[in-house]
Amino acid sequence: MREITYREAIKEALIEELERDDQVVIMGEEVAHYNGAYKVTEGLLDRFGDKRIVDTPISEAGFIGLGIGASMLGMRPVMELMFWSFSYVAFDQIVNNAAMVRYMSGGLINVPIVIRGPANGGTNVGATHSHTPENFIAYTPGLKVVCPSNAYDAKGLMKMAIRDNDPVYVMENTLLYGQTWEVPEEEYIIPLGKADVKREGSDLSIVAHGRSTITALEAATKLAEDGIEAEVVDLRSIRPLDIDTVLESVGKTNRVLLVDENKPFCGVSSQISHMIQLEAFDYLDAPIRRVTSIDSPAIYSDPLEKEQLPNPARVDKAARALLEEVSV
């Protein structure tokens, strides 16, 4: 099968949906003439013209709000944020409008908007540009949040996000944009809310999403050299959440390690951990352990930022500690 990058996979999803539905438009800072700050939208302006591919001023609240208004009238805007960190500027629009309008109207109005862009640390851009707060979005009823960990998932999930009748936030990852995976030529979609077992194993379950899945897989490969077989479950989306696949894996391995680029306090892993103890307590042979970002703003200095984020070494250490817990 052919291999393409995460970036190209997302672009293919956008192209296919632009061709499929004339109410889809792409909007954001530098998406058109500049060809995209991360080149995800490269070539789209030439292909679809400036009515469909629209450069915006640096006005996140203004253009995200515009997209929400347009979606209320039936359009399907796909809004690019250059960094997740910039969505804080538009947070009133995302939380008070995109998420709440359907509820406040008693179900009369839908908001089929997609907001997408990279959310991650690890690129030495300091505290204000390194946020990974999928928990903020997942926390808000009315919003959906998708975190693809590879090119295949990114394409299939993006296509579903665009077709979804609810507001969907797709959190991409700058560190993955240039990496390649096998992606079929023929069209496919991946439903939201279906976790994927990326690696089968019997000794412990590592539950992750987004780039943390890649980190977990790297650690699992290393652990296997010592005969430790880790199962890696990729959540793919945080809301909706496929906790059943997680519970099934816990039933099989009896030990859980959560890997999550969120901070530890009130992060995604806090919720997953709660649900596992509530619904699979009897399966657990050891307390649930977590590897999250260290609980501070993102540090600029490269080696320290690498340590601050979940990385294979930290996952490896936590997995071994988990296995040393005496079974009861």
């Binding site: 203004g62 208004g69 406040m104 008693g106 109005i109 579903m160």
Partner: protein
């Protein structure tokens, strides 16, 4: 804010507006209909105030009393392809666009028969079937949404405009300025209407905005058309709105229109001290000389369209309708506990069409 001097000054524009085609071509019945709508809004508001004081309505209640000429006048010139959206002082717009008193009052009571099934409350009325995209609770939060409505019309080559109402306090929010810039930059046919009632909550216009005479003049910075008018006469509102709607449709350009009005009550009913930041005399003076219902009633009597008896009939009928709405709301049911998690996601409300897996809701 308003004095006898401005009242006299507005006599010129009123006479001119009365001669404009949009007003002069109105039938007697249509004119009476406009007066009736304004009276209905006021009686509804007075009845809702009483219900609030009785503890039947919770939360905030931002009354529209004194501003009726704005919603009724501006919405009366819209066509079927035109849309509108407003802020939290939204009852007047709701009734003016044809929503029933029953569904509006029931929403205030938090009942399932309310327009938003009891989930929106006073600040969040919606009627998309009447091109009404809601009342919105965050100051200026609706301004880019109005832009988006007009954007969608333009994108789909529909000849229409979006009216986006905001208060005078909203002109100092960043997102309002982002919206003006985008509207002007992209030639979007949105008409921003500042309903300037003189006070952003308890802070007067003079204390909250740096301006010279008109808040709408800020549009000049965006190379956008603007106008300020004293809006207590419905003919003036209709003439100005109609002219700008036609301009926006012909040019696909935005407009910033300031309609100077006045509210008799506090920012909300909770703002019981509204006389602390303005004098009793100021309020009384406006009511005596500028009240939009009295002014229009007098015009129609002078024109020989209506007599006092008919006005009394209309007032009685509006009062009866408001009382009946309160009774309807009182007797309606509260939404069921199960409905708390309905209307959050389209997908969970349409389970037979659901494509996702996984859980959407989480319990403690």
């Amino acid at each position: 804010m308003a004095t006898k001097k401005t009242a006299r000054a507005s006599a010129g524009p009123v006479a001119k507006a009365a001669k404009a085609k949009i007003n002069s071509s109105l039938s007697d019945d249509a004119k009476i209909g406009l007066l009736e709508e304004m009276i209905r809004i006021r009686r509804f508001e007075e009845r809702s105030l009483r219900a609030y004081q009785q503890g039947k309505i919770g939360g905030f209640l931002h009354l529209y009393i004194g501003q009726e000429s704005v919603a009724v006048g501006s919405l009366s010139v819209l066509g079927e392809n035109d849309h509108f959206i407003t802020a939290y002082r939204d009852h007047g717009h709701a009734l003016a666009c044809g929503m029933t008193m029953n569904e509006c009052m029931a929403e205030l009571y938090g009942k399932v028969t309310g327009c938003s099934r009891g989930k929106g409350g006073s600040m969040h009325f919606f009627a998309p079937d009447k091109n009404y995209w809601g009342g919105h609770g965050i100051v200026a939060g609706q301004t880019p949404l109005g832009l988006g409505l007009a954007y969608a019309l333009k994108y789909n080559n529909i000849e229409g405009v979006a009216l986006c109402y905001l208060g005078d306090g909203a002109v100092n929010q960043g997102v309002f300025h982002e919206s003006l810039n985008l509207a002007a930059l992209w030639d979007i046919p949105v008409i921003y209407i500042i309903e300037n009632n003189g006070y952003s909550m308890g802070t007067s216009e003079a204390r909250s905005s740096k301006f010279t005479g008109s808040l709408a003049k800020r549009a000049e910075g965006y190379d956008m058309a603007w106008e300020s008018v004293v809006a207590n006469h419905i003919y003036v509102v209709r003439e100005a709105t109609d002219r700008h709607v036609r301009y926006a449709k012909e040019t696909s350009k935005p407009v910033l229109l300031e309609l100077k009005t006045y509210r008799y009550r506090g920012h909300s009913v909770a703002d019981a001290n509204s006389e602390k930041y303005r004098t009793k005399e100021e309020i009384q003076n406006y009511q005596d000389t500028m009240d939009p219902i009295n002014v229009f009633r007098k015009t129609l009597i002078d024109e020989g369209v209506i007599d006092e008896d008919r006005v009394k009939q209309i007032e009685k009928s509006a009062k009866d309708e408001a009382n009946a709405a309160a009774k309807f709301a009182d007797e309606s049911d509260f939404p069921s506990v199960d409905s708390i998690t309905e209307d959050v996601y389209w997908e969970t409300d349409n389970p037979d069409q659901r494509q996702s897996g996984g859980r959407m809701f989480f319990h403690s």
